[in-house]
């Protein structure tokens, strides 16, 4: 069921990135460009149709200082409630798991429990504590995640982690839903005389009017 990362970027092209001018250089590698980060995206059988990657993982080799900004929509999805709780009790994190296809929103206690099971299973594979793992979901509202397929894909997901450009690109594809392009960028700049890298990936095409706090 699961495919490896190198099919990912053949699914959708990369978006043009319009970076503002500034004292930085654009470099490849997206979320995996900064020191200590790895990423991957695979097809885990979560999407309603097609075989575009739909499961992404970003990890950090060390405890990373964590921050988050979340929807202020009071009908908040399970991963939003979970991440806010984790960020309240911890200043650091080691991983971000993202699934595309089901938003796990308006899914009640079962939806929340489904996510907890996936986090606990991933924590074992990564040899991390569950509270070191943050979660993002996107897709159809009201549907629970395809937990069986997700759990089955975790070993392949963890084994395909890499700090390569392909790893970052495949993760950027795996988080998309109705997007026509993947969104990934990284820059390098001198801060305090030291070379610092900042990278990221994003998704979004419809239901877009963020008011995050």
């Amino acid at each position: 069921v699961s495919t490896t990362e190198n099919h990912a970027s053949s699914h959708i092209p990369a978006a043009p990135i319009f970076l503002p001018e500034g004292p930085w250089n654009q470099i490849p590698g997206g979320v995996a460009a900064a020191e200590g980060f790895k990423a991957t995206g695979i097809y885990g059988g979560l999407r309603a149709k097609g075989e575009k990657p739909d499961l992404a993982l970003v990890t950090c080799d060390v405890d990373a200082v964590s921050a988050g900004s979340f929807t202020t929509n009071v009908v908040a999805a399970a991963p939003v409630l979970y991440c806010k709780r984790i960020l309240d009790i911890s200043n650091t994190a080691r991983a971000v798991l993202t699934n595309a296809g089901q938003a796990n929103a308006a899914t009640g206690k079962e939806g929340y429990q489904d996510m907890i099971e996936c986090v606990e299973s991933l924590a074992k594979l990564l040899k991390m504590k569950p509270e070191e793992i943050l979660v993002e979901s996107t897709g159809v509202i009201g549907q629970r995640i395809k937990k069986g397929a997700l759990l089955k894909s975790l070993p392949t997901l963890v084994n395909s982690l890499s700090s390569s450009v392909e790893g970052a690109d495949s993760a950027a594809v795996a988080i998309t839903t109705t997007d026509l392009v993947s969104k990934s960028v990284a820059i390098e700049s001198l801060v305090g005389g030291t070379k610092v890298r900042v990278g990221g990936m994003a998704k979004g095409s419809g239901m877009i009017h963020p008011n995050m706090a």
Partner: protein, 221 residues
């Protein structure tokens, strides 16, 4: 839904990082709009490994703090603009820049109000300054309408609250500016000045097309 994962190898204290990230989100993702629908799942997670070797940043106002904030703003704006560029059914990115407001927050509010307006006129390639002025007017930010200046690209549509005399050539030039942007999925730039204040802000959206309705009619829950 928009999701974001941001990573850096800068070293920064937890409270400074959390403040920095929210500032950058307010200057980027919270300034985009495609359809006015705020999702149940919108999330940005940002992780700092500290492995670059940089000394730990413990103040937003330090030189290093200001530089890291600028880098964070740039990455998030680059990603946010690509989301608006890829809006469902979009044929062009709409970038709204506002100046002359009393504060950055007020300028951002006017900009987002204009970007959020269903400027179907953009899809119709109609340089409709009236819709732009109206969207600025209902933003909730007060300003003197006789100070309002609106430019589309480098074509002045309104100045000092007065519509510019618009001969056929001028109107055709403005329409072809919009058409070219739509044909090459480029950026339509709307510049608005609302007064003489120091506040500047930007927002990004896209034009509203028939395809948006079609895509969403088929995306059933």
């Amino acid at each position: 839904t928009m999701l974001g994962v941001i990573t850096t190898d800068a070293r920064v204290t937890s409270d400074v990082w959390r403040k920095m990230v929210q500032v950058a989100v307010n200057r980027s993702f919270n300034q985009i709009t495609v359809d006015g629908d705020t999702s149940t799942n919108d999330t940005v997670i940002a992780l700092a490994s500290g492995l670059s070797g940089l000394d730990c940043i413990s103040s937003l106002d330090s030189d290093e703090g200001i530089k890291l904030q600028a880098c964070l703003d740039a990455v998030m704006q680059g990603l946010a603009k690509s989301i608006a560029w890829d809006g469902e059914g979009a044929t062009c990115l709409v970038e709204v820049s506002v100046s002359g407001a009393n504060s950055e927050a007020e300028a951002a509010k006017v900009a987002r109000s204009v970007a959020s307006s269903s400027l179907a006129a953009i899809y119709g390639r109609d340089p409709n300054w009236g819709r732009i002025a109206a969207a600025a007017g209902y933003s909730g930010v007060s300003f003197h309408q006789d100070l309002l200046r609106v430019e589309l690209g480098d074509i002045l549509l309104m100045d000092g609250g007065e519509p510019q005399s618009f001969d056929r050539r001028g109107r055709d030039a403005a329409s072809s500016y919009l058409r070219k942007a739509g044909e090459s999925h480029d950026t339509v730039r709307i510049q608005i000045s609302v007064g003489n204040g120091p506040g500047r802000g930007q927002a990004w959206g896209c034009d509203l097309s028939y395809d948006y309705v079609k895509i969403n009619a088929e995306y059933t829950t």
